[in-house]
């Protein structure tokens, strides 16, 4: 049911659109950084670093929109949870953007050092990270609590792959594989993807809070 105040509905809807837009930007940044690495395209990596400013600005815009709604309409119940969670979610998205920048910077270094076969080892992790982030964004957009719970479950696979990959690469380094710095950079990229999975979980937890008012963090 719509609010009596049309402006209130319009502002809540605009806030949601802004979060979805920021989510699209953060996911695109992650995809672009990975594509830069896998296609040896260093320009894509530079783009990710340059474009992070847009994501940061979107975070500030969402903060302003949220604060304006709190100030003007005194939201309660699910409206209040929607505003608070939107502000939380944009925090997670900003950090996903930062991890995309980290991936882009590491990718740039790897590409500069020359071709590295082990880069392909992160493909399964990229696949899972993509799934979990887009799952979280869809769950937010559709207000789908069931999907949010699935996203939380999906993080197990991300953690498992990251752990196995880190171990395998560490063993290679211990065994004298070269170049060490590039292999270490692949480990750091793997860690960024694992952290992106954690941030998608944070988003999913915020969605559960919106729909059921249940705070499932740290449980």
């Amino acid at each position: 049911m719509a609010h009596i105040l049309k402006n209130y509905d319009d502002d809540l809807s605009a806030l949601k659109d802004s979060v979805v837009e920021m989510g699209t930007q953060a996911l695109a940044a992650m995809e672009k950084a990975i594509k830069g690495l896998s296609t040896n395209d260093v320009e894509l990596c530079y783009d990710v670093i340059d474009e992070d400013e847009r994501i940061d600005q979107q975070e500030k815009k969402i903060d302003e929109q949220g604060m304006s709604i709190l100030l003007r309409f005194n939201p309660v119940a699910s409206d209040l949870r929607h505003v608070l969670s939107s502000i939380n979610i944009c925090r997670s998205l900003e950090r996903i953007g930062d991890h995309a920048v980290n991936i882009a910077k590491r990718a740039r270094k790897i590409l500069k050092a020359g071709e590295l076969e082990e880069v392909r080892l992160i493909d399964p992790l990229v696949l899972e990270a993509r799934k979990i982030v887009s799952g979280a964004l869809t769950a937010f957009s559709d207000v789908d609590e069931q999907l949010a719970h699935k996203v939380i479950e999906m993080d197990r696979a991300v953690d498992k792959i990251h752990k196995a990959l880190s171990k395998s690469l560490s063993n290679k380094i211990s065994g004298g594989a070269q170049p060490t710095e590039s292999l270490l950079n692949v480990i750091f990229i793997s860690r960024s993807l694992e952290r992106i999975g954690d941030l998608a979980v944070n988003i999913a937890e915020d969605i559960v809070f919106i729909t059921s008012a249940e705070d499932i963090r740290h449980t």
Partner: protein
Amino acid sequence: MTETSVTTDPAAAPSVASNEPIIAIDDLSFSYDLGKTNTLRNISLEIPAGKVTAFIGPSGCGKSTLLRCLNRMNDLVDTAKVTTGRISILGQDINAPDVEAIELRKHVGMVFQKYNPFPKSIYENVAYGLRVQGIKNKGILDQAVEESLQKAALWGEVKDRLDSSALGLSGGQQQRLCIARTIAVKPRIVLMDEPCSALDPIATARIEELIAELQEDFTIVIVTHNMQQATRVSDRTAFFYLGELIEYDETQIIFGNPSIKQTEDYVSGRFG
């Protein structure tokens, strides 16, 4: 008050531990037209002692009618009638034949939407209820007037002009004077029917602060159209719609995560 009769001495009424029900409303239906139509339908709720309980809902939902049932103000309407159920205060059925409305109101005071001091001095307004009870001793009256005005957070502003007309006070001061007049007779329960609706934001804040302080000594039931006020001042909130109690719970739950969609729609401004 006892199980069988209403005492005239509120201090002699049995004590109720904080949070235990002091008012129990059981399946109450109420009519203004001798039972042809029920304005309130099958209301059941328990109001805890020492807490602030807010009644909210759109105009015509029955919240003020229910409030007025609690001290039988509706007795003033000839065709008004409780059609089913009962209201017990301190264990006593307040509509029992042996309960006098005037006696009941010594335990259950009321503050109205529009402040209504008597055209008398500030002192006489507060002392009025005690004089009606037959108290003439000046020492007792002086003490009660000072105590009540202090509890109503008005003493500092009026102590040097107690003999001045109450009508010379500002609106906010007049409302606090009415609260002082109500609590001077030491009721157990104070009913407030939109006590701030005629006041500016500063005077409203003072009354809200006062409600928090009065909670230590009185059980307060407040009807308010201002939902932010309900969230600020009350411990529990009851939402009424078309004469029915839709939801009654802790205020944090009613405004944070109500169980019933109708409640959420109302508190979030989706209908009203």
